[in-house]
Structure formats: C-alpha cells, structure tokens
Amino acid sequence: MVKSKRRKIEDIIIAAICFLFILLCLLPMVNILARSFSSTQAMINNRVSFWPVEFTLESYYYVLQDKAFVRSLWWTALLTLICTIVSLVITVMAAYPLIYENLKGRRFFNSMFLLTMYFSAGTIPNYLLMKQLNLLDNPLVLIIPNCLSIFNMIILRSFFYTIPESLRESAQLDGAGPVNILIKIYLPLSKPALATLALFYAVGRWNGFSDALMYISDPKYAPIQLKLWQVINNRSSIETAQQEGFAAPVASEGLKAASVMFATVPILVVYPWLQRYFITGVTLGAIKE
C-alpha cells in the first residue's frame, strides 16, 4: 500500500519533468507567434512575452505586401509538391526490385546505392557538376539532384520486407508480373511507409536551403528558406526597396517574426496528420540489412 503511494508520487514527478520539456519546446515558438501579432511599440518597450500585446495584423500585412516573399511561398509549395511526387516514384522504383532475392545483379545495385551514403563528392565537385550540366539557375536543380534519398529507400525496402513473401508467390502463381504485384499488393499495404517518406521528402524540400543558396541566384526561383534568410539578415527588404526606389526600411522585428511564422506554419499544419506514421518508418530505417 505504502509502496503504491510512493509509485504514484514518482509518476507525478516524472510527468512534471516531461511537462518542463514540453514548455522548453513550445515556449520559443509561442513567443515568436505572440510577437508576430504585437505592435512594434509594445515590442520596443519589451512588453511581449507569451501573449500578443496591442493585437494587430500589421506585421502580416507588411509581409503580404512583399510580392517577392508571397511568390516565393507559392513557388516553394509547388516545388515541394513536385519534389515529393517525383521522389516517391523514384524511391519505389529503387526499393522494389531489390526485394527480389534472385534478381541478378541485386548485390551490385544494392552496394552502388549504399556507397553513396558514405562517400560523397563534396561541395565544390558538385557545384562544378551543376555548372557542367547547365543546371545553375535552372529550377530543375532544386528538384533532381536530391530526388532520391538512400536512407528513405532503405526505410521503404525494410517495410517491403515485412510484407509476407507468400503473398507475392501466390500472385506469381496466378500469373501476375512484378508491376502488377507492386501496384495491387505492395503499394496498398505500404501506405504508412509511403506517408512517412512523403513527410520526409516534403519537409526536406520545404526546409531546403543550401542548394538554393549555392545554385540559384535568380530571385524568381528563390525558395522560402532563402527568402527568409534574406529577411532575417535585412537583405531582401533593402534590395527590393532600392530596386523600387524607396528609402531602405529596416525589416522590423514584427515583420521578421511574421516571416518566420509563414515558413513554420505549413510544417505545423502537416505534421500532426503524418506523425502517427513516422515512428514506424524511422524505426525501420534503423534496422539495416
């Protein structure tokens, strides 16, 4: 009896510690959210902590005035959609044939993919390749060079392995070819894995920054992270202002907070829907052959 009481107290202490971790993760975001809805005056006087002060939509209004920023949001959304679809297709095309154990050359293809996880050419050789292929400043450079992640391929392949081989064999006896088996059996059964990969690929593109920084100089193709980086560093607003002949306004704190929210909210919206899948996915990825 005494023991169970002690247990309960322990349980509550552990729950309280976990609550601190929750706060640690959420409060920074709550503060930025509060700032984005607060007036500049309130921010200058340090009155904003975790709740908007003198509620206003001013910051959001100013962000939406920046046409380049809004266009970049739409452009990145389109880019993310295309990248996710292309990547999913290619990942399936790489993972599925490799589960056929009697496929000749399977070991070769396998190691060919795996090696790229540990050996990469490096920044400069990659940059020179994009130059040789005429991909610099081409929107395709944001889609193709990262369309297959071997890590994700391993996750999918591991998931395919969990589907009983007997299903495949009986379909083969019925005369179904590999493509038919893939479409009728493997893909429908792999929805959790495919959802996980879709999340990883989509987040990867939405958050992608360095490829745009290195390969894209035309502002027309700048994805949202590049744009956001410019806003945070007071670059974009000054440049556009100079182009359009205004005096240079320094991006205000509220504007920066609202810009950060624009880049964050899409992730916050998609994440809860997909998060129940990804734990299975990640755990599978850890089990290597």
Binding site: E10, D11, I14, A15, C18, F21, I22, C25, L26, N31, I32, I44, N46, V48, S49, F50, I90, T91, M93, A94, Y96, P97, Y100, L103, F109, F113, T116, Y118, F119, A121, G122, T123, I124, P125, N126, Y127, L128, L129, I144, P145, L148, G177, P178, V203, N207, F209, S210, L213, Q225, L228, I232, K256, S259, V260, T264, L268, Y271, Q275, V282, A286
Partner: protein
Amino acid sequence: MKKKRTAQKAYVYLKKTWTLYLMLLLPVAFAVVFRYLPMTNIVMAFKDYNMFKGVWASEWSDPIFKWFQKAFQTKDFWYALRNTLLLNFLDLIFGFPFPIILALLLNELAFKRYKRVTQTIVYLPHFLSWIIISGMARQLLAPRTGVVNVLLGKVGLGPINFLMENGLYVATYIALGLWKEMGWNTIIYLAAITGINPELYEAAEVDGASRLRKIWHVTLPGIRSTIIVLLIMNMGRILGSEFDRPFAMQNDLVMDVADVLSTYVYRVGIRGFQFSLTAAVGLFQSVVCVIFLFGANAIAKRFGERGIW
C-alpha cells in the same frame, strides 16, 4: 546445343524480370549522374582551375599537392578545422546523453495519452529548418528586446549577448542543436526499449526492485548495444560538417569560433571562386572522415556489435 539452352534460359529469365530492370534504370541513372559523376571533379584539387577551359582542360598544378600546401598555410583553414572538431566534440558530449535520459523519462511516463502528446511535441523541433531556428533564436536572445534577456533582467541578470561573444556563441550553438534534435533522437532508444523482454521487469518486480534499480539493471543493459553503436558512429562523424546550422547562426563578430569547414569551402570556393583550393580542403575532409568512419566501424565490430556495414 548447350549455348541454345543458356540463351533460352536467359530469355525466360529476362521475360520474367525485365520490368524490374526497367524500374531500376531511373534510380541507377540518378546515382551515376548525380552521385558518382561529380566524383570525377575531385581531380580539381590537383589542377589549376581555369573557368574557361573547364575541369578537364585545366593544367595540372605544379607541384601536384600545391593546393593542399596552400590550404595548410592559411590561418582561416586551421580555424575552420579547429572549430569543426570542437563544435562536433561538444555536440557529442552534450548531445549524446540527453536523448538517453529523455527516453528513459518518457518510458517511465505512466499516463499513456500524456506520453503520446509529449512525444509529439518534443519531436516537433526536428522538423524546423536551421534558418527558422536561427530566426527565432535571434529574436528570443536579442540583448535588449529578446524575451530571454527581458526575463533575465527581471531577476537582475544580463543583458547577455548570446550570439555575439565567442564563448557564448559556442554554448548557444550547442544548446540550439540540443533543442532541435534531443526529442527526435529518443526514437531509436524508445524502439530499443520496446524490444526488452517484459519478463525481466516482472522478475525485478518480484525481487522488490525500485524504479531506479529497474532502470539501472534492466532498461539500460537492454539498450546497451544501441548506445554503443550510436556513440561510436557519432565519434566517426567528428569531422563531418553540416552547412545550414553554422551558416545560419554565424555572424561577423564570432567568425573565429563559428566558421567551420563547410562554410569555409562555400565562402572561399563558391563565393570567392577559389575552386581548386577549396576542392583540396573538401577532399582532405572527406578522406579523414572516411578513415574515421572505418575506424569507428572496426571498433564497433570489436565490441561485438553489428556496426553499420
């Protein structure tokens, strides 16, 4: 006669499998063009790159290791190398134990729904980009208007300029890395904990073991091999470098401690057009990395673990 039979066999085999090869065509072409082909450009490190002649027509450098010697003579290179090692080392020391502790805590959490909510929330920062996090950090940690310094001011401390002083910058860099990945990195430990035989806990229960004793004698030994493999693999990555994180956080005032090899290569190579010099730096980094990784893998195998290949 025999030839005919092999040909027939091959025909039957291909008839069954040609669609699989067709499927592999695209991913293989991708790997060849975007992963293996750029490796030929590594030769840049041994040539005097001429933008108009291209990689292949450029002259070989004389002496052949000219660019490596040049790199080793620059102060910036040594700073970048030192910072890469230092930041990765601190990441390892602080970034490694915390996810284990958090995983143990989460595992002990008795309220199932609350546990799921906690997991959902602590995984979330993993999905934010370093650009977003550095944007938030600059606001939160701003010396006059940031909420952290405002709160510190209320208890009579500060203002502390977290991002603009060398030592504080390093501490903030490590802390933000922890904030982003601590929750996410618990997943693998939690998965390992699920694999522990529940009878062991029941036996410990019968013996009257307290919670801490059960953690110490059942849970931790149960995830021992996961811990060892991850630790060794992380040590193998001590010279690897991310780009987004240091690049998004660094500023001119703290360049001495903030510049790492990846940002050095970007700044001097792509922005400063010194392709041969930075290709040499990149090659040096890759080679050392691979050696470390092989070493780490060999050590993992010696411990009787599976390693990574």
